[in-house]
Amino acid sequence: MKPARKQRLILIGLMVLGASLATAFALKSFNDNLMYFFPPTDVVEGKAPKDALFRLGGMVIKGSVERPDKGMMVRFKLTDFNKEVTVEYTGILPDLFREGQGIVAHGRLNAQGVFIAEEVLAKHDENYMPPEIKATLKNPANPPAGQAQ
């Protein structure tokens, strides 16, 4: 059955073409930024959206946490070791929230360039170790944080 075989070949050809195009588009999309997650540098340079909710990630600068009116409102500074952004949040902070720790805040910028967080999530790292071992390790995250201040 020659015509049947020819049809099958065309069909397989189309499928291969479709699959390779699909792969090409998928690979192409990997080159673009898919994270809707902005470091403080982008925020300071104005790359982050002005009028929308987005995620801001960074490390809480040591000594920056303050409660200005002794209430629930917390103000702290986030850094990506390059630029820093002031964040304000009203509510209960998670356990893992502490100075020098990476967090993700979800919220928007106000007119003064202060990030008003609606939610603060502590991002714990993928390391699990006993405290005594931790103490013997040098924490590479500390020096730049000090510089930022």
Partner: protein, 225 residues
């Protein structure tokens, strides 16, 4: 080529059929409009809030509308024996099934695109994201039809297939929902969306290549029950 003639014949037949029972086209669109108008009523007319969740609302409604229309994809063919004839055709079943899905999209997915701009305006979506909304619907709704076809082929022989169908199909719709609504959301804040669009194109092509196979296999299985 006989195979492509058969494909075209199936598409043409289903379009003629849809024209002769117009409610089949009208129902999903009406449902789509209705669900979207329910949101402002349920949430309260807060323009800012509505605007923020508009992409999500439109896409979730499109998803539900497509899912409700899925049953008509193979139901009448199953009931009157046309499905048996399609499965006995010497042409590859997957191509014939693709013809049916194409016609289904033309009659249920495409009308959503036509009313979407209107609804976007209702919800106060900014103009710059309108074209992206249409683009995502254009790329995304065929994926919904293709994935849905697998689910409906699995359940067409069941008497109470409806509930099961949503359980099978909705989880698989998640990626389309995420990328499409996200693209619209990003577009409304003026961010680039090429990545999301590329992924939608990629998913559409993958679905086109892959989905007809399990659909054909599932129909062969369903015809026994």
């Amino acid at each position: 080529m006989a195979m492509f003639d058969a494909f075209a014949a199936i598409v043409r037949r289903d379009l003629v059929l849809a024209m002769r029972r117009r409610s089949e086209i009208a129902n999903p669109v009406l449902f789509f409009i209705l669900v979207i108008t329910l949101f402002p009523l349920g949430i309260g007319a807060q323009p800012k809030l509505l605007q923020a969740i508009a992409p999500g609302i439109i896409w979730v409604s499109a998803l539900l509308a497509t899912m409700l229309s899925l049953d008509s994809l193979f139901r009448s063919d199953f009931d009157d024996g046309s499905l048996e004839q399609i499965l006995l055709s010497p042409h590859p079943t997957s191509i014939l099934v693709l013809g049916k899905i194409t016609a289904h999209w033309l009659t249920t997915g495409l009308p959503l695109l036509i009313v979407a701009p209107l609804l976007a305006v209702f919800l106060g979506m900014p103009n710059q994201s309108l074209s992206i909304l249409l683009l995502t619907l254009f790329l995304g709704t065929p994926i919904l039809s293709l994935i849905g076809a697998v689910g409906v082929a699995l359940t067409v022989g069941l008497r109470r297939g409806g509930m099961i169908l949503s359980l099978l199909v909705l989880p698989l719709y998640v990626p389309v929902l995420i990328f499409a609504s996200n693209a619209v959301e990003m577009a409304s804040t003026g961010l680039p969306v090429t990545a999301q669009i590329n992924i939608l194109i990629s998913m559409l092509l993958m679905a086109l290549v892959l989905a007809p196979w399990p659909t054909a296999a599932a129909l062969k299985m369903s015809i026994n029950s």
